[in-house]
């Protein structure tokens, strides 16, 4: 890949006869330039996906509620997200008089930074991760647990009652579901014997069913079915999406931590929420549905399978939002602590016993 890109640049700049002069300058910093190019290649499609995910969300919820959804801007309303983005970009960013000015702007940054940083270790195809590190799964867990600071800091710095209530709810809810999420991931790393996300995917490509050409039966979702469900639901709660969206519950606290934000500062929270949704969908696909692996033996593996799986989980996010009423706060806490945490603890023991028994299939 690197050689191809270099050859392309050489061909392109040689059209103007500038290649040798340019390469003399760029060569010492080329590794850095190459990493930045890879980061751009991940983040630009991600931001475009976020924009069109909002459009898709409005369309799908519209259809589910027998409406049409956005259809005015461009053909079939396809330019709607661009118009929304432009509007947010040119809006004034208001700062409340009593707000803590510095932290008021740190809030949105702390929301979006971890949501983007976590993408560094996600493998898009075999060998297609920005940083193929050993502790990848743990890194993702650490980064997603940082996202909560955006909400808390924004809620506190706004110096207003509703945002503060939102921040309080967020800190309790997100910490609770992180525990269930982490415990579910312990099962995954037990049976794949690795924290490296690429290795976790490769481990799912091995097994009796994969040898018979029915790879989708070898993926982690069958032996870890309860963990698969727990992880995805915790992911929905972790991103503060409906039906767990009490953090911004419109009917009680207007929009929670985002009440006082406008323009691009608000857009940062919006981008972070949707980037986190895509991240949870991607991780669920990578950890439980075999990432880039093809479900059947006669079709080639590749990024398109991962994209298909991500789309499926994103559709589930939208479907949940259109279907379920919002949970009551005590119900959220009960589900997290009294249902998910015990379930994951029991399943860790079950998997451990299974692996020590003669019927161990995870090798």
């Amino acid at each position: 890949m690197e050689q191809l890109v270099l050859q392309f640049f050489q061909w392109f700049w040689n059209l103007f006869g500038l290649w040798d002069a340019l390469w003399a300058v760029v060569k010492p910093v080329w590794p850095l330039v190459w990493v930045i190019m890879k980061i751009v290649a991940i983040l630009v499609p991600l931001m475009l996906s976020v924009a069109y995910l909002t459009f898709w969300e409005r369309k799908i919820i519209g259809w589910m509620q027998v409406r049409i959804g956005p259809n005015r801007v461009g053909p079939w309303g396809l330019l709607q997200p661009i118009a929304d983005g432009m509007k947010l970009f040119f809006k004034e960013v208001l700062v409340p008089t009593g707000a803590n000015r510095g932290l008021f702007f740190v809030g949105p940054v702390m929301a979006i930074a971890p949501a983007l940083a976590a993408w560094a270790v996600v493998p898009f195809f075999d060998g297609g991760a920005l940083a193929d590190i050993d502790a990848g799964l743990f890194y993702v867990l650490a980064m997603t647990s940082m996202g909560i600071y955006g909400v808390i800091i924004a809620g506190w710095a706004s110096n207003s009652k509703y945002p503060f209530l939102g921040a309080m709810r967020a800190s309790a809810q997100m910490v609770s579901y992180e525990i269930a999420m982490g415990m579910a991931l312990v099962c995954v790393l037990m049976i794949s014997n690795s924290l490296n996300l690429s290795d976790i995917v490769r481990a799912q490509g091995r097994g009796w069913f994969a040898d018979q050409g029915a790879g989708f039966l070898s993926w982690n979702w069958i032996p870890l079915l309860p963990m698969f469900v727990v992880y995805f639901i915790s992911g929905v709660a972790e991103t503060n999406r409906a039906p767990f969206d009490v953090v911004e519950g419109e009917s009680e606290i207007v929009a929670g931590h985002m009440v006082e934000f406008s323009g691009m500062a608000f857009a940062m929270f919006f981008l972070a929420e949707y980037a986190n949704m895509i991240l949870v969908a991607t991780l669920t696909s990578v950890l439980f549905l075999g990432g880039w692996l093809s479900p059947v033996g006669f079709l080639p593996d590749g990024f398109h399978w991962l994209a298909l799986k991500i789309s499926f989980f994103l559709f589930l996010f939208l479907w949940f939002r259109a279907t379920f009423p919002r949970y009551r706060y005590d119900q959220i806490m009960r589900l997290g602590w009294k249902v998910f945490v015990p379930l994951t603890l029991v399943w860790i023991v079950v998997i451990g016993t299974w692996m020590m028994s003669p019927w161990n299939i995870f090798k």
């Binding site: 590190i133 050993d134 743990f138 647990s145 909560i148 808390i152 309080m168 309790a172 910490v175 009960r334």
Partner: protein
């Protein structure tokens, strides 16, 4: 100075400044956030030492959970710094000597022949494919399994003690039982009365 050394100095400088600001910041919430920054830079330093598991554990555990709860509590407290500072000069006669003693001890240990940077052997570069996480897991669950289990039990005791100390039943609390709510039947709530129609 190579890139790693430069990075070390940048991270350490931010770490020291952040740690200083933790004790000098006027606003307690700012102090907690500076502590988070200090943890973050300490984790960066550990990454430079190739201890990636510990570095990420520091972020996941301390930054991701402990400091969030800390912040949660500090935000809700109405801390009056003037009142906190009132006892400063009164306690200085005790606090000052203890601080000096700690500095002397640290200098004594770190500059000693047995523990100085020269006294310790340079660690061998890890072989290719060496996994920090796996090495740590193997050490904890084989050689150090008893101390590890003992530490877990102590933590469990502390956990239960914290719950027990805070467990107070409130009489005016309207508690819900979700199982009861789900098991409710129509006949429990609605009574159908057959009434003959009345005429005036």
């Amino acid at each position: 100075m190579d890139f790693k050394t430069a990075l070390f100095y940048i991270l350490s400088a931010i770490l020291v400044i952040a740690a200083l600001r933790v004790v000098t910041a006027r606003n307690p919430v700012h102090a907690v956030l500076f502590l988070v920054l200090a943890f973050f830079n300490a984790s960066g330093l550990w990454l430079l030492l190739q201890a990636e598991f510990l570095a990420i554990a520091l972020i996941a555990v301390y930054v991701g959970s402990v400091m969030v709860l800390f912040l949660f509590v500090v935000m809700m407290l109405d801390i009056n710094l003037e009142r906190l500072r009132q006892g400063f000069w009164g306690n200085l006669w005790l606090g000052g000597p203890i601080a000096v003693l700690m500095v002397v001890e640290m200098v004594a240990v770190l500059s000693a022949r047995s523990f100085g940077p020269e006294a310790l052997p340079v660690p061998a570069a890890p072989a290719a494919g060496y996994s920090n996480t796996k090495a740590l897991g193997t050490a904890i669950y084989t050689d150090y399994v008893y101390p590890f289990e003992l530490a877990s039990v102590i933590l469990l005791v502390a956990l239960i003690a914290a719950v027990v100390l805070n467990l107070r039943q409130r009489r005016d609390n309207k508690q819900l039982n979700p199982a009861e709510q789900i098991a409710i039947q129509r006949k429990d709530r609605v009574r159908i009365v057959s009434m003959p129609s009345e005429k005036e």
